[in-house]
Symmetry: C2
Subunit: 288 residues, 2 copies
């Protein structure tokens, strides 16, 4: 992450890889980049950013306030199409629906994700803040660990250590207190915390926040579970436009039961504001 | 709440008032009862239960696992139609979409709510529980306060004290620690806790849990805000079939900012299991 080559919002790898091209009214072509995969699966937050950008074009408002995604089938790198539907437009909020499709061997569309979202204008919100939420207690970024700090396995980013292209595109510095899983001794607590940014130095915006909530290693790793934890549903609330600088992301799981768990994420910006909250329901698929 | 006349699941006021009648494949008629209103607005959790029952009929699975609702326009008592769409069916999960419409003066359909939901079979889940979540600390039900316990204003149920028909249909006994708002001295904390049930003694099931998460007074009251707090989006995860007996509902707001707040609800059953989690994004409309 070199400051001299810092990418900007609108002109970065993330912007290029989440771009959508309008084919006709409400229909957008996209290309799912192989650069945002965990093993072979395309990251769910990256996909949500693509859907979010299509809806920002289709709706009269630009900023996702609340977006709920149901993940249907696993996405793969390659062409995709996003079909949007304007559900309601209002003065301060608009609601839309979008689906991301890919193609089967016969060229038929296969639905990957469907979302419902309400959009508004973050800059038009009053600046009142009456919050009791506090930023996560975690060490300064210099004392946290990324993929370049580890000799052995690759902590630092999403899902299973190792062969994930997404790790090269993210700056993830994990709180040592939630790093036990990478060293063979998970804490047993459903917690994961990290400093987060894009590797090319692009600052955060509402769309990269959709990625941020789903880009850390699963809390399940710290609970001693090494299997796959596919998302069933993910809802993100964007509460504030993030200030420049690295984000802090804190993820908590309190209830692992019946083969499912929730992951609650909070994202804090450099101005100590809670910029995003999310919750997902995920299935626990035990390994081996 | 008389034990001698206890209503049963499937044969209670809640079941009758959330019933849907299949008009054709995927389309259901409903009648929004005036009995579940807060002032003149129909309760959002009651509406979600109607949508939930329509989807249970339309999908191959019976139980809502995760359901996300975007509230578009205010519902009123009277006829409604629910249009459903099966998005994907799988072995253990199915996903569907549903919209609730009412009619304008010219008889045209006006969309009130749109939902995306994934359904499964709660009884088929393994019984593993590895949770760190603890039931809310609150006094026994005998030491909590409902609408029959107050000489003056009517705590006990949803929204503004007074003329709300829904209060007669619910058993809500508020934790005295979150009752300050009703006595003119709100605690300033974004917390609301209560014992909860249906007034006719019907036990809880997944559909009444959809009501339970949205039936307490708004946390905003305890934050000293007496205005209206309309829901923009509400997502509920049903994690377990509830055991018979009263529920405990705990709602927390941590971040009131920019004119919006989140309400996080937890619902615990009499067997001390976390049976539902929800989060909603609501707007704060200041009174006067």
């Amino acid at each position: 992450m070199s400051q001299t080559s810092q990418a900007t919002i609108g002109d970065s790898e993330f912007d290029r890889d989440t771009a959508v091209t309008r084919r006709e009214e409400g229909v957008y072509d996209a290309d799912l980049s192989a650069g945002w995969t965990i093993i072979s699966a395309v990251n769910g937050g990256y996909l949500l950013a693509i859907l979010g950008r299509a809806l920002a074009d289709a709706l009269p408002h630009d900023d996702p306030f609340t977006i709920s995604a149901h993940y249907l089938t696993a996405s793969v790198p390659g062409p995709a199409v996003v079909r949007t539907d304007v559900v309601r437009t209002g003065r301060s909020l608009s609601t839309g629906q979008a689906s991301l499709f890919q193609y089967d061997e016969e060229g038929r569309e296969v639905e990957r994700i469907r979302v419902l979202a309400s959009y508004g204008d973050l800059d038009a919100l009053p600046d009142d803040v009456r919050t009791t939420a506090k930023p996560p207690a975690m060490p300064p970024i210099e004392q946290c660990f990324g993929r370049h700090d580890a000799p052995g396995p690759t902590p630092g980013t999403a899902a299973v250590p190792g062969s994930s292209a997404i790790t090269e595109r993210l700056m993830v510095k994990l709180d040592p207190a939630t790093l036990g899983w990478a060293l063979g001794s998970p804490s047993g607590k459903g917690e994961m915390r990290a400093w987060f940014g894009l590797a090319d130095g692009r600052d955060a915006d509402p769309f990269s926040l959709l990625l941020a909530v789903d880009a850390l290693p699963p809390t399940a790793f710290e609970m001693g579970i090494s299997g796959w934890v596919p998302t069933v549903e993910l809802t993100v609330h964007i509460r504030c436009r993030p200030a420049p600088g690295p984000l802090r992301v804190s993820i908590t799981t309190r209830n692992l039961a019946g083969g499912y768990l929730e992951e609650d994420a909070e994202v804090w910006d450099s101005a100590d504001r809670l910029v995003a909250q999310s919750r997902q329901l995920a299935r626990v698929r035990l390994a081996g």
